[in-house]
Symmetry: C2
Subunit: 426 residues, 2 copies
């Protein structure tokens, strides 16, 4: 294991031709492996199928309050489902709205609401000229996409090992045109970083110039631990209350990666004032979300402890998958001075930084041999990684044998791309 | 049976005291009957419960194309579900997007899209100053509510026996600020009127000044016949094509009143260009709608003929309910010259017009004895019935014995309100 940058040109060339030969062998296999999205694998889907038996003629369709969940009504969600999510998000049930199958939709719709109707008594965001959002990056491409769709300017915020650079955030929120921020506070997408208590506290204590500043707190991986020492995210709501800031943050989560990505239940958790404003819009938008599916989830998990038991089954499937990738990265790339990555304790991704200016080339090489990665750049606003170095690895979907091959292909491609860059320099 | 207006004051007073005595007897019963919303009754909900057995471990989760509907993907809906809805709406599957559980949400979101992003290359509706919508009235309160929420001015369009007054519509669309119209073309809410072929053809041939004029064609009761001679709505899409107008109309429907109002599947049917524009927004809004529920519906109904068989079961429950109300109206009110109403062949409502200036009083009297009607006025934009005469009767939810009582209470209240008005005049 030698640092590439300390190696002679001849040694680099030798390494290059060795890796190139491996690359050609992969190419000859005509593989097709998809490691692009954070999708659960088939084995994970089977963990939850008995949820479909929880609401039938035998079990009945009545909620705990005796309401028939097959009919219209109950705009903000079933009590038992609110209770489950309240426990997950450490909130009171009054602070919960249970939605449909998509937290992305709840976020998109909330931002649409801020744009068209405004936040509390402030003018609609769309009437305030150019507005801007803070985007800790690398981050989730679908968050950035919402901003892009609505023409909201995005400002990259650096991610540190303990979360986003709060100093940068504190500076930017002095500008009234800065209206919001996207956060994935636990097992962030893609780095798997959980915000430290200090970061959470400083975010909760922000005093933005914009009275209608709103943080989208996407707690997508709130119970998605796969190690024995999972990260613990400090609950932000009590911190907000301490700072008189309880309206500033709107939390989101979903069961997409607990039960079924196609047919889960999503949730909003926020202050009563925000709940009221959102409910007011919901009244015009929908009669009710799918309450049978809400009832399924409430009956299936019962409570947080039931949910945690279920998540352990996911962890048993996911941990070996992450290990295969991490072990391969370690074996193939450590000590060469060409990559850095975080070792996550949960979530759905590994974020790999290669030497600057090489990520697109890595993506191209992988594609050549049939390995589909998340589009390089997608983890940054506008799809542009300013350093061209970040690669998102999504190890959950491929079966484990494919995954091993995929990780090797990735490592070979990383080495080739880095060697090419270095050989061109020398 | 005498026309009230031809009766002497003494006779009117006698009639009044007789009806008042009946009213007091109802009052003494301390009833609570809800006839306010178009909700299916409990017996209807049981018709569909075996749909919950159509997607399980035994049946499998694969679509006909081999796609696992438990996972992410398939933004615009499953092929088999598109095919079912295409048959219902007489469209090609390329003209279909299958959504979540709520057609109201699909409509709200579409209007939001027009407001925020605009229609094709036209500026966003929100950037065009005051805009207006045509609202055939009486109509569906939730349509009007969307306009109210977004500050879109509403213009009442008279309803005739064969649909909205097309002459009025043709006049109004000469104004470029008129951007759209809401229609319930079959078994209209609340009158149960189906637009005649001529009305459909003239609507399809409109040449609005606004290039971004859009008709929300809410085909909520497309297969909701309950007589042996159901109405037949002319399919509007071929007419639009003939007129080069295929982008002007966006159709909506849902299974809310086929399976479960809380957990059905909703659909959009429109031109490919509109489908593309809507899909583009959906990409940013949601990963996919609930495909397990889509698969349930496709497997349960199989095709239009399966669906029609199912709707006959609904009809068997609904027909007697409508008959009870219609028979009571006929027995109690005909020949008095104080009401008019349509006898629908399907849908969810009966619309009763009483003598002008009396509807609010009728609502108040009903409320006094525990009968909840749809808020009087709600069938008109801004909740204001300019004639104070329209009452929406929703006979589907109460059991049939309650319904009989409800219909009698309504008739007694109508008589009292009319008699009061007449006695005050004389």
């Amino acid at each position: 294991m030698n640092l590439y940058r300390e190696m002679e040109r001849a040694a680099l060339l030798e390494e290059y031709s060795r890796e190139r030969a491996r690359f050609e062998r992969f190419a000859a296999q005509k593989l097709r492996i998809d490691m692009s999205r954070g999708k659960p694998g088939d084995d994970q889907l089977y963990l939850s199928t008995s949820i479909l038996n929880t609401v039938t003629d035998e079990t009945g369709y009545l909620t705990e309050e005796g309401f028939d969940c097959r009919n219209y009504g109950t705009l903000t969600g079933l009590s038992e489902c609110k209770r489950l999510f309240a426990e997950i998000l450490e909130l009171h049930t009054d602070n919960i709205i249970v939605g449909g199958n998509s937290s992305l939709q709840l976020m998109f719709d909330y931002i649409t609401q801020c744009l068209t109707k405004g936040v509390s008594s402030c003018p609609a965001w769309s009437k305030q000229g150019k507005i801007r959002f803070l985007c800790p990056a690398p981050g989730y491409d679908r968050h950035f996409a919402i901003c892009e769709y609505y023409g909201i300017d995005m400002i990259n915020i650096d991610m540190n090992a303990d979360g986003p650079d709060v100093k940068m955030i504190e500076e930017y929120v002095k500008d009234e045109s800065v209206k919001g921020m996207f956060c994935v506070p636990k097992y962030s997408n893609p780095q798997g970083i959980t915000y430290s208590n200090e970061v959470v506290k400083r975010i909760a204590a922000l005093k933005p110039a914009a009275k209608d500043f709103r943080i989208i707190w996407d707690d997508a991986y709130c119970v998605h631990d796969f190690t024995d020492n999972p990260d613990k995210l400090l609950s932000i709501y009590p911190e907000l209350v301490k700072n008189g800031n309880e309206d500033m943050v709107v939390q989101f989560a979903s069961t997409s990666k607990m039960t079924f990505p196609g047919a889960g239940v999503a949730v909003i958790g926020t202050s009563k004032r925000n709940i009221e404003e959102i409910s007011k819009r919901l009244f015009y938008q929908i009669i009710s979300y799918d309450k049978i599916n809400q009832l399924r989830h409430a009956r299936y998990f019962k409570d947080l402890s039931g949910l945690k038991k279920h998540m352990k089954l996911h962890a048993e499937i996911l941990k070996p998958k992450f290990s295969v990738v991490l072990d391969t990265l370690d074996k193939e790339l450590s000590g060469k001075g060409i990559v850095s990555y975080n070792i996550p304790s949960g979530g759905y991704f590994i974020s790999l930084d290669v030497i600057e200016g090489s990520a697109l080339r890595v993506g191209g090489l992988c594609k050549e041999v049939g390995l589909k990665l998340t589009s390089v750049g997608a983890t940054y606003p506008y799809g542009i990684d300013p350093f061209d170095r970040n690669i998102r690895i999504a190890p959950t979907y491929p079966p484990i044998d494919e995954l091993k091959t995929a990780a090797e292909i990735l490592c070979v491609s990383v080495k080739l791309a880095c060697l090419e860059a270095m050989l061109n320099e020398k």
